[in-house]
């Protein structure tokens, strides 16, 4: 990918220019951006992403439990027909959100979920960073087999693991009805991806820095902690987000392990709205939107690690 875009944009030197010219430069840059193929691609992709979500949003804010069906539009003009394709509730209402928050201890469950997902992220990252470092930096008997075994663990369907996991966690470890049991299971589930991803990223880090540190007498632990981890921040952000999400949306294990409603996580709470006979999709949609807010905030907090590099000198970003 070329950096012609970077060349054409206002660089740091321009900051010394008078305000007006600087503003013009920014405007020119924005205009050039808007007319580029990248921008067109991103706009198109965003529309495709947003459209199905609009249905969820409009269901959540409709105050009803099922969406209005598409209207009968055969007699309308082209644009009216197109407009009819955009899902909008007949009237906006916060009723669904209010109902979800009052009928259930939703906030409490959301906090439970944060604890479980947070714990999963921490334990998952600690276990996977150390293991990935060893896989990336050492050569030892059983290394390839070990890496392969991590992969194998992802190949067996989760539904069939339910009973044995129940036996181990609840009966053997006595961790039923506790968050620790859930956290351990989630962290281990997320581990293979985290190890492989981090190992791949560690592989790209230059070895020379470590070598000189070793020569100066630094221990492996110091190098790992002081040099490798800070350099690998983008990969750690990605794997952390992944571990978090593994725990965040899981509902079967969470509802099987917990025997106390005050310990449920929020996906369990959401599933109360879906049953065989009738489902409160409006509540479910409203709850889903509230559940996704912490994820979005987390992503916002992490995204600066995902976009350092090339853009570090730019004004915007």
């Amino acid at each position: 990918m070329s950096n012609s875009q970077v060349q054409g944009r206002p660089v740091a030197a321009e900051l010394d220019l008078p305000y007006r010219e600087r503003a013009q430069g920014v405007l020119r840059g924005a205009l050039r951006d808007v007319l580029s193929w990248r921008f067109a691609l991103l706009v198109f992709a965003s529309l495709v992403v947003i459209y199905p979500l609009l249905w969820v949003v409009s269901l959540a804010f409709s105050g009803q439990q099922s969406l209005q069906l598409a209207q009968d539009t055969r007699d309308m003009g082209f644009w009216a027909q197109m407009a009819a394709l955009v899902p909008l509730p007949e009237q906006w209402s916060l009723q669904n959100f209010r109902a979800v928050l009052t009928e259930q201890p939703f906030i409490r469950w959301l906090l439970n979920s944060l604890v479980v997902a947070g714990g999963t992220t921490v334990i998952g990252l600690v276990l996977s960073c150390t293991a990935a470092y060893a896989f990336s930096r050492f050569r030892f008997p059983g290394r390839n087999r070990g890496l392969m075994l991590f992969l194998v663990s992802q190949m067996f369907p989760a539904v069939l693991m339910l009973i044995p996991l129940y036996v181990i966690v609840v009966q053997w470890l006595g961790l039923g009805n506790s968050w620790l049991g859930l956290i351990l299971v989630y962290a281990i589930t997320a581990l293979p991806f985290c190890v492989w991803m981090l190992k791949g990223y560690f592989d790209t880090l230059p070895y020379e820095i470590e070598e000189s540190a070793l020569l100066e007498g630094a221990s492996r632990m110091t190098i790992f902690y002081r040099i490798i981890l800070p350099l690998a921040r983008p990969a750690i952000a990605v794997t952390g987000l992944f571990s978090f999400m593994t725990a965040w949306n899981e509902f079967i294990l969470a509802s099987i392990f917990m025997d106390d409603e005050s310990l449920y996580t929020v996906p369990v709470g959401l599933r109360f709205f879906v049953s065989d006979y009738s489902s409160e999709w409006g509540y479910f949609a409203a709850g889903s939107i509230m559940v996704s807010v912490p994820v979005i905030l987390l992503f916002l907090a992490l995204q600066r690690f995902l976009v350092s590099g090339l853009s570090s000198g730019a004004v915007k970003g």
Binding site: N3, G29, P52, A131, L151, A235, I296, L310
Partner: protein, 753 residues
């Protein structure tokens, strides 16, 4: 590092210990699946009970519908779980055959309690002559009609269809009659009216009986000849149509009442009569109170049951929770007796039939639904299709019952097998012993590396490989629902499961004139799974790479784009997958509506293999791009920008830079991401299950959904485990090949030797 971790782990352990806390042993634990008003009514009653019986306080736990059966079957056979629970009656047969799930309870009942219930509901709670629970309430369907369109409920089916035809205008999307007619629960009304339902007098499966064939023909004529029914119905669609006045009559249950739009003036009546025959007789599901065989306070649990089914409690549950109480005396309550809606459902009970609680019934739902879907689309003849289903289900049933019989003979673990196991252990120990020097040496030499990996490895061993071993052993048995609790030795089978999976060469069925592909065949499913995986991974990795590259450099509004593009990952995919399914609905979906705006013909998305495949593909790509994009964005950060600057100075083109710099340097991150996404997509259960659900007729099932159906719809647990092991073996071979080709095992540059 250690300093940092120790307090953290301590904190977590402390949290765990706090929560486990001692449980009051006198407590009665009750599990139920209620929420909303129903739950409040129950909670109020339980409080009342607790005041009267402080010695055995009741603690209730609500469990979501989606995980309730799993939770019960994980806990109860292992002596855990509640003292009593509320659940639908149709699993009694299976539970009673499994053992350790529910306890017969007639001996514990106080005098006179049984007289509260009508015999049909008590029958529903009994299996092989034993009473396994007390009926609490019943759920029946009836005819709900819009008074503005239908002034009086039709008395006969002919009248109903006549009226429906006058009110149907397909172009306007208006229908005379709407109900989930492809669901066997609803179709039961027709089967029960014309004959005896799926089983004959002696309780044998008789799906291909004259009456059942006629019931399908009748439905086919409503759907294809009279054309009064909407396409591809589901409960949400039915509710919607009724609320908008676009369905004049619907067949639904009391659960619909709370969702009817206040502007609709509706009436409820029992289902009409077939001319010269019985009235349409819907199936009812009875919710019952069940007793755990492990409860230490069975007597107290039964008193609670007696309390909850008393007339006073039943009235309260009916008035506040919307129950149709099984204790019929409650209907004499003046408030209930004067409510025409409630009394219409009460009258419907007189002709309704409880769902058979035979274990075979649970095998029937899904395949019968597939048959119904095919018949109403004209893709199959009722008689042929039912005969085929009868044959297939008889075979499945015989297989199930065989396993039970085998256990009854109670074989010993074959001697050669125990010897072989012993030998294997000996060989392993000896091999380890002979290698002890090497192992010890390599431990000493590489201690740092092993120590770094140890915690992760221990966790994996306990929580992944032990369950996997369990699955592996299970696959060599003939474990099913019926012999689950028998000792392993008596279930041992050997490699038969694998032979029958891999040796399944029935690629086609039918005569040579009109042969069709057998979609249940392993190799067809494997073929579909490979197509599914390859197309998904190629498309989503390609698009994600494109988007990540577009986002990697500054652009106007970049933060917003990035945020929008990860949204599909952030919103629970359960609802977005269902939104996609709704968008692909042939009659009411926006995609077809959009096609029509642009002058194209609408597509019946779930009718052919290709289009149905496409629906799953689109949904899954949409769901998986954000994750892949984030991974690639992370990987792009590792590429030093100087390389690009140098390349530009040399005058390299963009494409060349991409090929020579971006792609190779992205590889260490991309390769594991691709391998893992192949593994995940291969086993992507949710999207297939929620969107196309294998339509048409299981052609779009992938191996994992098929394994699920074998395990949880046919209850052949061992066969499903063998299926899963085959999946694992296939993926393992792929992973070995892929890691070889891509060199994923390479260490970082200049790794320690």
């Amino acid at each position: 590092m250690v300093r940092l971790l120790a307090p953290l782990l301590g904190l977590l352990l402390g949290l765990g210990a706090l929560q486990v806390g001692a449980q009051d042993s006198r407590e009665l634990l009750l599990w139920h699946g209620y929420r909303g008003a129903e739950r409040q009514a129950l909670d109020a009653l339980l409080e009342e009970f607790n005041r009267a019986h402080p010695e055995t306080p009741v603690r209730a736990l609500a469990v979501p519908f989606g995980s309730f059966p799993d939770k019960l079957s994980a806990a109860l056979p292992r002596g855990q779980g509640p003292d009593l629970f509320i659940y639908a009656h149709d699993r009694i047969g299976g539970w009673s055959e499994t053992g350790h799930m529910i306890a017969p309870m007639e001996a514990l009942l106080p005098e006179g309690v049984l007289e509260r219930f009508p015999p049909s509901l008590l029958d529903a709670m009994s299996y092989k002559g034993r009473l396994y629970g007390l009926p609490l309430n019943f759920k029946s369907t009836a005819l709900i009609y819009n008074r503005a369109l239908v002034s009086a409920p039709p008395a006969t089916v002919a009248e109903m269809i006549d009226r429906a035809q006058q009110l149907t205008s397909r172009e306007r999307g208006r229908f005379g009659l709407a109900y989930s007619y492809t669901e066997p629960f609803f179709h039961g009304a027709l089967m029960n009216a014309l004959g005896r339902g799926p089983f004959d007098n002696s309780g044998e499966l008789a799906l291909d009986s004259e009456a059942n064939i006629r019931s399908l023909e009748l439905l086919e004529s409503w759907a294809r000849h009279d054309r009064v029914l909407p396409e591809e119905p589901n409960s949400t669609l039915v509710t919607n149509l009724f609320n908008q006045g676009r369905a004049a009559m619907v067949i639904s249950g009391p659960w619909l009442l709370g969702e009817i739009d206040p502007s609709i003036d509706f009436g409820v009546a029992p289902l009409p009569r077939l001319v010269g025959e019985r009235p349409l007789s819907p199936w009812i599901a009875v919710e019952g109170l069940f007793l755990s065989p492990w409860s230490k306070q069975q007597q107290a649990a039964v008193s609670l049951m007696a309390f909850l089914t008393s007339t006073a409690s039943a009235e309260r549950l009916a008035l506040e929770g919307g129950h149709l109480p099984a204790n019929l005396a409650a209907f004499d309550n003046p408030q209930l007796a004067s409510d025409p809606v409630t009394m219409a459902f009460r009258r419907q009970l007189d002709t309704a039939v409880p769902i058979p609680n035979h274990p075979a019934m649970t095998l029937l739902w899904k395949p019968l639904e597939t048959v119904l879907k095919k018949v109403v689309k004209g893709a199959a003849q009722p008689a042929d299709e039912l005969q085929r289903l009868q044959e297939q289900l008889s075979k499945d049933l015989a297989a199930l019952e065989n396993t039970q019989r085998r256990v009854a003979q109670s074989e010993e673990l074959p001697l050669w097998l125990s010897l072989a196991l012993l030998l294997a252990v000996l060989v392993a120990v000896m091999a380890l012993w002979r290698q002890r020097e090497t192992i010890a040496g390599s431990w000493r030499q590489h201690r740092t590396a092993y120590l770094y990996i140890l915690p992760a490895a221990l966790g994996m061993l306990l929580l992944v490989f032990f369950p996997l071993l369990y699955g592996f052993l299970l696959s060599f048995t003939d474990t099913t629902l019926l012999n689950e609790s028998a000792p392993l030795a008596s279930r041992w089978l050997g490699i038969d499961n694998y032979l029958s999976i891999l040796g399944d060469w029935n690629l086609f069925y039918g005569e040579s004139g009109q042969r069709s592909i057998n979609y249940d065949n392993f190799y067809w499913t494997l073929f579909m799974t490979v197509c599914w995986t390859a197309s998904n991974v190629v498309i989503s990795v390609g698009l994600a790479l494109l988007l990540a590259l577009a986002l990697n450099k500054p652009i106007f509004g970049r933060t917003w784009f990035r945020l929008i593009l990860i949204l599909p990952w952030a919103i629970p995919n359960y609802i977005t997958a269902l939104v996609w399914k709704g968008m692909f609905h042939p009659q009411f979906g926006v995609i077809n509506q959009g096609l029509q705006v642009f002058g194209f013909a609408p597509v019946a998305w779930f009718d052919s293999v290709g289009t149905s495949f496409f629906t799953g593909l689109v949904t899954n790509v949409w769901l998986s791009i954000p994750f892949m994009m984030v991974v690639i964005l992370g990987g792009l950060q590792a590429i030093p920008r100087e390389l690009y600057e140098a390349a530009r100075v040399e005058g390299a083109s963009r494409w060349y830079q991409f090929r020579a710099i971006t792609l190779p340097l992205l590889r260490p991150v991309l390769v594991p991401a691709v391998i893992l996404s192949v593994v995940w997509t291969f086993n992507m259960f949710n999207v297939i299950y929620l969107v196309s659900d294998g339509a048409p007729a299981g052609a779009n099932d992938i191996l994992i959904t098929k394994a699920f159906r074998i395990g949880f719809e046919k209850y052949q647990y061992a066969y499903a485990a063998a299926y899963s092991i085959v999946v694992l073996a296939l993926l393992f071979m792929y992973a070995v090949w892929q890691t070889r080709v891509s060199g994923a095992f390479e260490t970082g540059r200049g790794a320690a030797r």
